[in-house]
């Protein structure tokens, strides 16, 4: 397989973006990504678009977005992997270049979730999993899926609601430093504990917001990187993908996500690194419990120890491994199709030491970063390792 680099990134402001439609929102990311790579739409042979859709009017978002960005005629795919859709779109574009089939590809992640009301968004997300057996009669919501894990995890390992709240407090701290984040405001443990219950034991501030946003990256082969004289390419060193059952009751336990364990082991092996080599990471904190399980699934600590890493500040800047220092899904927001691509944009900037403000820059020694993007409740998982 050929080496593949990220040579251009773009990222829209995340938030309630009813000032733009899906095409215009995608354009906000595609333009800077192509500009940074020094390319025009005519140079792009393959585009992979990650978007769930259903909450906005266009059923064929890839076509709508490609047309608007002057990419009509390009080889085009739309990808779905629930909340890991963005990473799945990266995977598709990565394999196209790694295989030698094309030498350049473009990934666009975009989601417009605020065109429907909150309860409809809750319904559309809740239906995604095992509709017939877990939604039709039982109305299980997406916060509900993770709440089932939170209840089991807390009971098993003795983590408290305060421990979960600390994840939100940390990620809001960094979100407040990120001008592109949906919620740029610090919160306290008390704010989290006193917010209303969404799906017990998860409260409003345990949950990521419903967000609009887009992100884009340009990928290129090693030959193209040389030809284009790219200064600081960031290499995709490893990608792992795995999946879990749709029906939760088919699973063996509710304290971790098997798909994340498997995907990460594939990615580590491919990149030739171990968990202790990772210097900065973005993990899928759609809910506070999800970030804690992610530490354990990724091997950053043993099972049942994740909440202690947060307690001890090990995942803040200055700690053992800074995690979600762009605010994470929790504060930056989670525009589903864009999230995985947004992780690549953030980590590319971290690896290039270009993060602004620089107080949000992780210290780098060996330049190894990891993105962990979960679809559903471990229905899908993608782990991507980047190196400079």
């Amino acid at each position: 397989m050929k080496k593949v680099a990220i040579i251009g990134v773009g990222h829209s402001r995340f938030g309630e973006r009813q000032d733009v439609n899906v095409r215009e929102l995608a354009f906000e990311s595609v333009k800077p990504a192509l500009e940074e790579a020094g390319l025009t739409p005519r140079d792009i042979p393959y585009v992979s678009v990650g978007s769930i859709g259903v909450w906005y009017e266009e059923p064929l978002p890839a076509v709508a977005v490609a047309e608007y960005c002057g990419l009509t005629g390009v080889g085009l795919t739309r990808v779905e992997a629930a909340c890991a859709t963005g990473s799945a779109a990266v995977y598709s574009a990565y394999t196209a270049v790694a295989s030698g089939y094309v030498d350049i590809s473009l990934v666009i992640g975009v989601e417009k979730m605020r065109e429907v009301d909150t309860f409809t968004a809750v319904e559309l997300m809740g239906r995604a999993g095992s509709y017939l057996w877990e939604f039709e009669n039982f109305g299980l919501t997406f916060p509900g899926y993770y709440a089932l894990y939170a209840t089991a995890y807390m009971n098993r390992f003795g983590a408290s609601e305060e421990d979960l709240a600390l994840v939100a407090v940390k990620n809001h701290k960094y979100g407040a430093m990120n001008p592109l984040a949906h919620i740029q405001r610090e919160i306290t443990v008390e704010d989290v504990l006193s917010s209303y219950v969404v799906a017990w034991p998860l409260k409003l501030y345990d949950c990521c917001p419903i967000t609009d946003g887009s992100a884009a990256i340009v990928l290129a082969s090693e030959e193209k990187v040389k030809e284009l004289k790219i200064d600081t390419p960031v290499w995709i060193a490893g990608i792992g993908s795995s999946s879990g059952t749709g029906t939760l009751s088919y699973r063996s336990d509710f304290i971790g996500l098997d798909a994340a364990v498997k995907a990460s082991r594939i990615a580590y092996k491919m990149a030739g690194v171990e968990p202790r080599d990772i210097e900065v990471a973005n993990v899928h904190d759609c809910f506070t419990i999800a970030e804690i399980m992610a530490y354990e699934d990724l091997g950053f600590c043993d099972r049942g120890e994740g909440f202690k890493m947060v307690r001890e500040g090990q995942t803040e800047i200055g700690g053992r491994i800074p995690i979600n220092i762009d605010g994470g899904l929790k504060a930056k927001g989670h525009p589903i199709g864009a999230t995985g691509v947004s992780m690549m944009v953030e980590l590319t900037k971290q690896l290039k030491e270009e993060v602004k403000p620089s107080s949000r820059q992780a210290p780098m020694k060996n330049y190894v970063a990891l993105a962990h993007n979960v679809g559903g409740t471990g229905h899908y998982c993608y782990v991507t390792i980047l190196r400079r």
Binding site: Q18, G139, G144, Y196, W200, T247, F254
Partner: protein, 146 residues
């Protein structure tokens, strides 16, 4: 919703007609007060919810097996913020239980105060016709054996 100018799209109401031909005995069973799983005749794997084809050994020879419904709560949540199509329901408790026969099941847990629910509590899964007339099943606290 935002104050930005928007154009409301045309409305579309969708209801899917989900085929249950191959699992009809399960739905008929609920009406008769029974809860069925299926067991693969070839590899012996027991499934709940039931399936027509075994994903383990690819056999389609399945036997219907009545389940006791007896089990223990593994985890639970109270759904306070409900989806659009559950807005007319009061907040509900969803639990996953380990059934005696070895499979797990997910359903609403009813007839128990929220503060009395514990992981490990004994429950029984029973069929129920909902207020809307849908055939479903739910957990109830198991009868205490004297």
């Amino acid at each position: 919703m935002s104050e930005m100018p928007t154009l409301p799209s045309r409305k579309l109401e969708i209801s899917y007609h989900i085929p249950i031909n191959k699992t009809k005995k399960f739905w008929d069973g609920l009406r008769e007060g029974k809860i069925y799983g299926v067991k693969c005749r070839k590899c012996g794997k027991l499934y709940f919810p039931p399936v027509a084809d075994c994903g383990e050994c690819y056999s389609s020879e399945m036997d219907w097996v009545e389940l006791s419904g007896e089990g223990e709560v593994l985890t639970f949540t109270h759904i306070i913020i409900r989806p659009t199509s559950f807005q007319d329901q009061q907040p509900y408790t969803v639990a996953i239980a380990q059934l005696k026969e070895g499979v797990k099941a997910l359903a609403w847990l009813k007839d128990v105060r929220r503060k009395d629910i514990r992981i490990g509590m004994k429950v029984k899964m029973v069929p129920r016709i909902s207020e809307e007339g849908r055939i479903t099943y739910e957990f109830k606290p198991a009868e205490k054996k004297e």
